[in-house]
Subunit: 82 residues, 2 copies
């Protein structure tokens, strides 16, 4: 599944979804990444001050990757078609 994430909240939501899909608790993910459970919690809740390193470490542990592309027009915004 491909998640567009334009805000830190959307990034956090995508990570949480993936973690749950893998049946991991925040604590278990924290163990894999050497991050605290509290740090995982903050990231999933969309703290915009989180560090890139944190995001990347978590994504690696979850088998995720980032794609950077030109902002798509009208993605999920039906009004833009009119």
């Amino acid at each position: 599944m491909e998640q567009i994430a334009r805000t830190s909240k959307q990034i956090g939501a995508a990570i949480r979804r993936r973690r749950r899909l893998l049946n991991l608790s925040q604590g278990e993910l924290g163990a894999k990444t050497k991050l605290r459970q509290a740090t995982i919690s903050a990231l999933e809740n969309g703290e915009p001050g989180a560090r890139l390193r944190t995001l990347i470490d978590v994504m690696v542990a979850l088998g995720l990757e980032l794609v950077i592309r030109e902002r798509s027009k009208a993605e999920g915004r039906i009004e833009d078609f009119f």
Copy 2:
């Protein structure tokens, strides 16, 4: 163009490529985002400690978006086919 970015260096490189495509200097991009030219420089050079907020602000200013997806197998790694 779609850039896979698994490291902060790759993220930085994608941003730099896009900025140059738009014919912006780091200073001009900094003005748009209210970030210092030095901060843009650090981000483009792949500082892993950069904040999510910084990345997102820059991506918005450049008309970019993130996609989060399952790590693709064998992307650029021919050995994985054997």
